[in-house]
């Protein structure tokens, strides 16, 4: 039995430990132990779902998910629709989660993205909710709602166009007391598709020779807008997302295969390029947008 221990705080900076443990589970049964989970962000949520889907695919049987002991955490997982999605990949003994009022800080519950109409649904949903979070919580101007919708649309399309496999998206605002003393909006996208290296290999691997790998594929796509299509109009999505995230002084990273590449603002210390990570299929996109002002108080609250 492989036991995969989920850290008590599961976010974009710790989700790699789950991926690392998953890489070692190649046969037999698996238990994913989230019993001590106390905090989870969207990257942690979609990462955990991806881990479950991968283990089920690889092991031929659903891994067991030990759910968090804390009732508040379990309630949150229900509310953000993690449990609804997790049922597809994990076996679970679901206790009735404590009813918790819907939080206004959830911008987008975990949403599967497999088709073009899913992207429209995501943009529709965000239009109705994003205004309050972006303006009151983050202190951004109202016009940001449209720009934010464009960013979400483009990251979701990345799943459909390049992964050719299902994926998930989620977004939520958090108050980061320890790290930044301000509110942050975290957007996470994950898929279990081909990943950047495989997606680009047929068109571009030859030029790179032995240097071709997850890191060079990510550099080609992320830094230079390279795509597998001959069409000049392709490859703009990631470039435009990076441009917009930079304007908001945000962090954007993409993990694919064994590498992660990032545009890193001054307030974060994520490396610009990491290689030699535990192999994990598909791509995981993480965007973190900071509030304009420090402090817990919201603008106009």
């Amino acid at each position: 039995m492989h036991v995969i221990r989920v850290p008590s705080s599961l976010d974009y900076s710790t989700v790699d430990s789950v991926f690392r443990q998953c890489a070692q589970a190649v046969e037999g049964k698996a238990l994913v132990d989230a019993g001590y989970l106390r905090f989870v962000d969207p990257q942690g949520l979609v990462g955990l779902l991806s881990a479950g889907a991968l283990l089920k695919r690889r092991l031929g049987q659903a891994p067991h998910l030990r759910l968090p002991r804390q009732a508040e955490v379990l309630g949150y997982l229900a509310r953000i629709r993690f449990l609804e999605q997790a049922r597809r990949f994990f076996s679970m003994e679901i206790r009735r989660p404590r009813e918790i009022a819907a939080s206004s800080d959830v911008l987008l519950e975990i949403t599967p993205v497999t088709t073009n109409s899913d992207v429209h649904a995501v943009v529709d949903r965000v239009q109705t909710r994003a205004g309050t979070i972006l303006t009151r919580t983050l202190g951004y101007p109202l016009v940001t709602v449209v720009q934010f919708s464009v960013v979400l649309s483009e990251v979701c399309q990345n799943i459909i166009e390049h992964a050719e496999a299902p994926g998930w998206v989620a977004a939520q605002a958090y108050y980061w007391a320890k790290r930044r003393d301000r509110w942050m909006l975290v957007i996470a996208v994950s898929d279990l598709g081909r990943g950047f290296r495989e997606s680009l290999a047929a068109e571009h691997a030859g030029r790179f020779g032995k240097r071709w790998g997850d890191g060079s594929a990510l550099e080609a796509a992320f830094l230079h807008g390279v795509t597998r299509f001959q069409d000049l109009g392709r490859g703009q999505g990631i470039q435009q997302i990076r441009k917009q995230v930079r304007r908001w002084d945000g962090l954007i990273s993409i993990r694919s295969g064994t590498a992660r590449i990032a545009d890193v603002p001054e307030w974060d210390d994520t490396p610009a390029l990491e290689q030699g990570l535990a192999r994990f299929p598909g791509a995981q996109i993480n965007i973190v947008l900071p509030a304009k002002q420090r402090g817990r108080e919201r603008s106009g609250a």
């Binding site: 483009e154 399309q157 703009q236």
Partner: protein, 195 residues
């Protein structure tokens, strides 16, 4: 025929999007949506005459993403205005807000294209990658509304500007009436044909 030798075609993007995707909103998002909308526009244009002025109305569209803008704007222009060939299809992007402009400009720049856009305030401007001469000559005609062939030498004494005017006609940014040879700003033509 309306006397201008060109057919007006009004294209309501909101209606086209809603026909393609069941949505409460009219968002021009995703490449497949853009492709479907572009094919619908091409189908409308196929029923127009030999020359057509298409007014593509963005005013009821909330969100335009880059992938969709590439299909609806850039690929449409590339199809009807192939580089180096004189076009018979003219386009005005109507009701374009600042938020629409960003993706539209990005895709036009990517393909080295220029288009005429009318802002929500009703002012026309060139978007994309106009040269300095393009912008100068186009603005000059835009202010006058029209220019007869006889007035051209006096109004555009510089040979470069006269060559630029012809280039603007070839690229569908200025209309030349077939019979009189008068040069018309697309804003003037649009208002004359469609109000």
């Amino acid at each position: 025929m309306n006397g201008f030798g060109i057919d007006p075609v009004a294209i309501d993007l909101r209606r086209l999007v809603q026909r393609q995707v069941a949505s409460l909103y009219a968002h021009l998002v995703t490449r497949p949506t853009g492709r479907a909308v572009r094919l619908a526009i091409e189908s409308q244009l196929a029923n127009a005459g030999e020359m057509a002025l298409s007014v593509i109305d963005f005013s009821e569209v909330h969100v335009v993403d880059f992938s969709c803008a590439d299909e609806v704007v850039a690929k449409l222009l590339l199809h009807y205005q192939p580089p180096g060939q004189a076009t018979r299809a003219f386009f005005v992007l109507r009701g374009v807000s600042d938020l629409h402009l960003e993706p539209i400009e990005a895709v036009l720049e990517r393909h080295r294209l220029t288009a005429v856009a009318e802002t929500a305030a009703g002012l026309c401007r060139l978007v994309g990658v106009p040269s300095e001469a393009d912008a100068r000559v186009w603005r000059s005609l835009e202010e006058r509304g029209a220019l007869s062939p006889g007035d051209v030498p006096a109004h555009l004494p510089d040979e470069v500007d006269r060559a630029t005017l012809e280039s603007l006609v070839r690229r569908g940014l200025v209309f030349r009436r077939p019979e009189s040879g008068d040069y018309l700003a697309l804003s003037n033509l649009m208002r004359s044909l469609m109000g």
